[in-house]
Amino acid sequence: MAERDEDETSGVETTGHEWDGIREFDTPLPRWWLIIFYASIAFAVIYWVLMPAWPLITTNTPGLLHYSERASVMREVAAMRAKRQAEGAQLQRATLEQIEKDPQMQAYAFAVGQSIFGDNCAVCHGQGGLGGKGYPNLREGVWLWGGSLEQIQQTITYGIRSGDPNAHNSQMPAFGRDGILQPSQIDDLTEYVVSLSHRPADAAAVARAAPLFQSNCAVCHGAGGTGNQLVGAPNLADGGRQWLYGSDRASIHDQIWNGHGGVMPAWGRRFDANTIKALAVYIHANAGGQAS
């Protein structure tokens, strides 16, 4: 072997290579580092034998333990499903009213409801359920399609204009866009709707619009404009604080002209009946207003 090449100043052996007058120390590796290094190699070999490691053409070496991360996740999901099934069993037997009144079932329904609501409903209805333009407020006791427990359950299960045969399907016509009414008639109807909530309105226009309202609108909104939950027609005589598309004249005109109506999915296709029950109880119990 060649002679040891040592650095003059420090006395540490160098590698013997030289680049532009710079030489590299050949400091021995720390013992603890070497031990860890060899231990890692040993660990890797053991790992190859026990765990899936080497890729083959269509599969991989399974390892002696036949461990599969995917299988482990699926087991956990199955276990969680079974656990939920067991815990939700009492919800299945109980009626919505019983769930709401029983403190234990109510607590369970709230826990399920809150998490499902946050992940699925809050996107449109808001985290606190206060809604927004086009999306109903679920907290203030005003219900388009009815606020009883059963009605809420029904709405969640089948949705609104969701394409489901049992969904709430009625839709307000676009009186202006589709040419059902003349623009001047829509102007008059706007004044009429304003007057229904005892707000100041053009009396002449109101008088002209009265027969129009009875022939075009009353079938859904009622002769007095008080609405009908069977067809999701809002009460037009309540001041309009909770109207989905606004209550000023421009908004009312726009709504009569275009007949906006949103879509809510049929959640019954995604969640089991117990989850929907829990959700209905959670929404109903935390909402103001109507008892079932």
Binding site: G11, V12, K101, E140, G141
Partner: protein, 505 residues
């Protein structure tokens, strides 16, 4: 890279005075280190403490038995509590989230009592250290106690200092093998029973003792027992004084506690010097009492020479005092050449003055007052601890809801903690807002107080919706007071009722 690693220099510098000869170059020192192995750390010099007899050794044996006795037996003390509650006197119940200490039961919310206890322990340690030096290190620290025990086992198998040194230097033989294997086996048994005892503080001891051996104890129990077995074996068996010297921060902190008047194991240099060998019958005139017998060094578990003065390694255990006294008695000289004494006293004697031992000094007053204050605060807190706690959390989203009749509703979650072992009935009533009604979700609103029952040792989270008529809302934020009453006592909790400004609409 041509970085000159600093530690190489240091190693060289260390080597220089030790040789006593001409200074050697860094290069030479590094080569020397290379010959003895990797140069990344200073190799430990083995210490073979000799057995000693005397007052301090006896006290240390007694304290060893007492402290280990407390450690091993505490989890086995039973304590009568109501049915359903753990019957173990001292228990840190992580699953149930409770800490039991005899008649005291603490909830996680009251962790400040533990903080207070730690502050008290720290202040007491400061006070004791400033008065009497590192008594904790020398007598009560687990590192010292277990190391003492391990050295005793070592002595049992391998004999005292000289026998052990000879054994270590000898070639491997059957005799050496069985002694070494026996020693390590007993060490491991002690280590395992140490780790094994620890887990009993966290689970019902008799149950755990059974489940542990059949593999049904929680994984944390096995892991804790395993980790503590290894640390006990490592710290007390092989690392020993290195823990105190290199790992423990306490010796550094203690520098700030100790002053010239703190008692420490002290070599009374005024009496001992000049030292030197002494022949029987020789006169003691003109010389010190130290005969340089080296007994204080060979008994030292830290491997230091106390005659060099107070040192960071010294744990104040007093074994050198016993060793020296033994020699002094044999020489028919007065004992106490090494003794618990202060630097100031030694200096005073050297100046032929009367040594004084002022226990009351500014630092002992500070530590004493602080300790008393914290202790009183803790005692007051424990004595006036309420069995019930009541908290109100107002909903943040939505902050408020306007109902179709114009009234406003806010949501609250009331947390009612029943820390006692009886079921408690409470009434929750509302105040501060005229016409306000209360309801739990799904129930009908009412102005009457709500009746609730809280199970023993439980927290009830009660959701309450408060509705107020528009007429009573004059500001966006109105004060709202929840009162919890029950068992002749009442707890008030002030919150607010938020609404938009009704008047502005």
């Amino acid at each position: 890279m041509t970085v000159v690693i600093e530690r190489n220099r240091k190693a060289g510098a260390d080597a220089t005075p030790a040789t006593g000869g001409a200074p050697i170059s860094v290069a030479e020192a590094t080569r020397a280190k290379g010959r003895e192995g990797s140069g990344l750390y200073r190799k430990r010099t083995p210490i073979y403490p000799k057995l000693v007899h005397g007052r301090w050794r006896t006290i240390k044996w007694a304290l060893l038995i007492v402290t280990l006795g407390i450690y091993y037996s505490t989890p086995w003390i039973r304590w009568a509590r109501p049915a359903g509650a753990p019957q173990q006197a001292v228990l840190v119940d992580f699953t149930g989230r409770r800490f039991y200490f005899f008649s005291i039961e603490l909830w996680p919310q009251e962790v400040y009592f533990i903080t207070g206890l730690l502050v008290m322990a720290a202040l007491a340690l400061f006070l004791v250290t400033s008065l009497f030096g590192r008594l904790w290190c020398g007598y009560a620290c687990p590192q010292t106690v277990w190391t003492d025990l391990y050295i005793a086992v070592e002595r049992l198998f391998e004999g005292d200092r000289n026998a052990r040194m000879k054994l270590d230097a000898s070639k491997w033989s059957f005799d050496k093998l069985w002694r070494k294997v026996g020693k390590h086996a007993v060490w491991l048994v002690i280590a395992f029973s140490t780790g094994g005892a620890w887990i009993f503080y966290f689970h019902d001891a008799p149950t755990l003792l059974k489940t542990f051996w059949v593999g049904q104890a929680p994984m944390t129990a096995y892991v804790s027992a395993g980790v503590l077995t290894l640390t006990t074996y490592g710290l007390a068996g092989t690392m020993r004084e290195q823990v105190c010297t290199y790992m423990c921060p306490w010796p550094r902190i203690q520098g700030a506690m100790i002053d010239g008047h703190s008692l420490q194991v002290t070599y009374r240099s005024d009496r001992g010097e000049p030292r030197g060998p002494h022949k029987k019958g020789q006169s003691w005139e003109g010389r010190g009492d130290c005969v340089d017998c080296n007994q204080c060094v060979v008994v030292c578990p830290m491997g230091i020479d106390i005659r060099n003065g107070g040192q960071i390694e010294c744990i104040n255990c007093g074994l050198c005092i016993d060793a020296c006294n033994e020699i002094m008695v044999r020489l028919e000289r007065p004992t106490g050449l090494i003794a618990y004494d202060t630097d100031e006293a030694v200096a005073a004697r050297r100046a032929r003055q009367r040594p004084v031992y002022p226990l009351v000094r500014s630092r002992t007053i500070y530590y004493g007052v602080a300790l008393t204050a914290v202790s009183l605060l803790m005692a007051f807190g424990l004595a006036t601890r309420s069995p019930v706690d009541f908290a109100v959390l107002r909903d943040r989203n939505p902050t408020f809801v306007r109902l179709d009749d114009g009234s406003v509703r806010d949501g609250y979650t009331l947390k009612i903690e029943n820390r006692s072992w009886e079921r408690r009935a409470f009434q929750v009533s509302l105040g501060g807002l005229r016409g306000a009604t209360m309801q739990t979700p799904g129930a009908a609103p009412s102005a009457a107080p709500l009746s609730v029952t809280v199970e023993p040792n439980q927290v009830l989270a009660l959701r309450v919706l408060v509705t107020a008529p528009p007429a009573s809302l004059t500001a966006q934020s109105e004060p709202l007071i929840f009162t919890l009453s029950g068992g002749g006592r009442a707890w008030r909790n002030a919150s607010v009722f938020l609404s938009s400004d009704v008047a502005a609409q």
